[in-house]
Symmetry: C2
Subunit: 273 residues, 2 copies
C-alpha cells in the first residue's frame, strides 16, 4: 500500500523535498507516493492544494504526510487544516531562532537569493560555463585556470560532476577523459597533465556498471564490453596509484555526493558567498 | 559583528545548509559566517568538529549556531556537547514520524540514493547530456525528443537552466539562442521552431543586467552595449507575445528558481522517481 507525501512550499520546494526525502528514507517499510507543489503563495493556490490533499486522503484512506516550508502566514494557516500529518519546517524552528537572535523574522519568501551577491551569481554561471568549455579534454589550454581537473574513463561521471561543482560551489572544474590512446606510450599519466598534478582528481567506477552505461549509448560495441571496461578501469587505477592521485569510486554515489566528496577530499573551499 | 553558523552532517550537508540558509535569511539584522562540515561520520571527525566549534565560541564570544543532519548516534551525541545553539533536524522529527509510521528508522546515512532507482540515475545523466548536446541551438534535429525548448537572448541564463532541469528533474531541455540574425526576415519566430511551438518557453532579463553579464565576456563590445541588449530583449519579448509563448524574467531569480518556475508554468512533471 502506498501513502502519499506532499512537499509544499511558497518557494521552490527544493528544501522541503530534499529534507523530506532524507527523513522518509530512514523507514524501509512503507512506500510513498510523492507530490511536490512549489510556489503555493496565495490563498487560492493553498485552497487548490488543500483540495488535492483531502481528495488523496479520501481515496487512499490513510492520512497523507505533508512536509511544508511556507512563510506566507495565510497559506500556512490554510494548510494546517488539511488533515495531513504535518512536518512544518519553518514553524518548528523560527520561534526559537527568533528568541536566540533577538530579532524578528521577515516572513518573506525567496530571501535566500538576496543574501547571495551578484558577484556570486556571476561566479556560478561562469563556473558552469567553464565546466562546459573544458569538458572532455576540449581545451587543454585553460587548465591553469581550473580549481580542479577531474580524470576518469569515458562515461564514469566526470561531466555532471564538474557541472555540479560549478553550480553548487562555484568551483572551476575541468575534466579529461583517459582513453586507450593515452596508453600508447605505456600506462602513465599524459605528459601535459603533469604540470597540474596538484589539482588532479580521479574517478573510478565498477566495470560492470560502466559497461551498462556505455551499452545505452553504443549497444554491443567493443567500447561497451565488460572486458574493455575492466581493462580501462584497471589502467586508470594504476595511474592514480602510481602518481598518488586521490580518487573515489562513483558507483554508489549520486552526483551531489561525488561533488561534495571531491570538495572534502581535495580540500577545496566554495567560491560562492 | 559576525556570528558563526555551522552546518554539520554525516552525509553531504546539502540539506542542512540549504534549510539553514533559508531559515537564517529570515533575519535581516545579524550577519553570519558559514562553515560547512560534510561527512562527519566517525567519533574522531566529530571531535575535530567539536574543537572547531569551541574555538570559534571562544574567539567570537557569542555562541555559534549549529544546524545538524546527523544519523550516526555517537556523532550526534558528541555534537550535542558543543555548547552551540543547536537545530537538530533529524532528532526533531524522526521520533514523531516513527510513531506515525509505526516502523523504526534505520539510522543509516545516504539512504536517499537507494530509493532512487538505477533507471532514474541513467535518466538524470542522459538528461544532462541532452542539455549539453542541444545547447545553443547546436543540433536542431533533436528537438522532437526535447521535453522543453528554452528560448532567449544570448547570456540570459538558458544553459545553466537547461542543465539544472536535467540534473534535478530528469527533463530533456534544449535551448535556442535568438539573435539578430533571426530578425533578418522580420521580427518573427524562426520557422523551424514552429512545429515545436507547444514546447517553447522564453526567458527575458533586465537589459542593464544582461549588458553587465555580456561585458564580463566581451568588454566594451557592441554585443555588450546596453543599447544592443535593450533592442534584443524588446525583440524577443515581442516574439513571445506574438506567439503566446510563456516566459519569465530571470533577473531576480537563481538557477533553481528559474528551473522550478518553468516546471510549474509549463506543467512539466519530473522524470525521476
Amino acid at each position: 500500500m502506498e501513502r502519499s507525501v506532499f512537499f509544499i512550499s511558497d518557494g521552490t520546494g527544493i528544501t522541503a523535498e530534499s529534507f523530506g526525502q532524507s527523513l522518509l528514507a530512514q523507514f524501509s517499510g512503507p512506500t510513498f507516493r510523492h507530490h511536490t507543489l512549489p510556489y503555493v503563495d496565495t490563498p487560492e493556490k493553498a485552497v487548490r492544494a488543500l483540495t488535492l490533499i483531502k481528495e488523496t486522503h479520501l481515496h487512499e484512506v490513510i492520512q497523507p504526510i505533508l512536509f511544508m516550508t511556507v512563510l506566507n502566514e495565510e497559506v500556512s494557516k490554510l494548510l494546517h487544516t488539511s488533515g495531513a500529518y504535518i512536518i512544518d519546517l519553518f514553524a518548528t524552528f523560527l520561534p526559537g531562532l527568533e528568541m536566540e537572535l533577538g530579532s524578528h523574522p521577515l516572513y518573506t519568501v525567496g530571501k535566500k537569493r538576496s543574501t547571495t551577491s551578484s558577484a556570486s551569481y556571476h561566479r556560478r554561471i561562469e563556473a558552469v560555463q567553464f565546466a562546459l568549455d573544458n569538458d572532455d579534454g576540449a581545451r587543454i589550454r585553460h587548465y591553469e585556470k581550473a580549481d580542479i581537473i577531474v580524470l576518469g574513463a569515458s562515461r564514469s561521471g566526470k561531466t555532471p560532476t564538474c557541472i555540479y561543482l560549478g553550480l553548487q560551489f562555484g568551483i572551476y572544474a575541468a575534466n579529461y577523459p583517459i582513453t586507450e590512446d593515452d596508453f600508447d606510450k605505456g600506462i602513465k599519466l599524459p605528459d601535459f597533465l603533469r604540470p597540474h598534478k596538484e589539482r588532479l582528481f580521479g574517478l573510478t567506477i565498477n566495470p560492470a556498471r560502466l559497461s551498462g552505461i556505455r551499452n545505452e549509448r553504443r549497444p554491443n560495441s567493443r567500447y561497451a564490453s565488460v572486458r574493455q571496461c575492466q581493462y580501462e578501469i584497471q589502467m586508470v587505477k594504476q595511474i592514480y596509484n602510481q602518481e598518488q592521485i586521490s580518487y573515489i569510486d562513483t558507483t554508489e554515489f549520486s552526483v551531489e555526493e561525488i561533488a561534495t566528496r571531491i570538495m572534502d577530499q581535495a580540500n577545496l573551499t566554495r567560491r560562492l558567498k
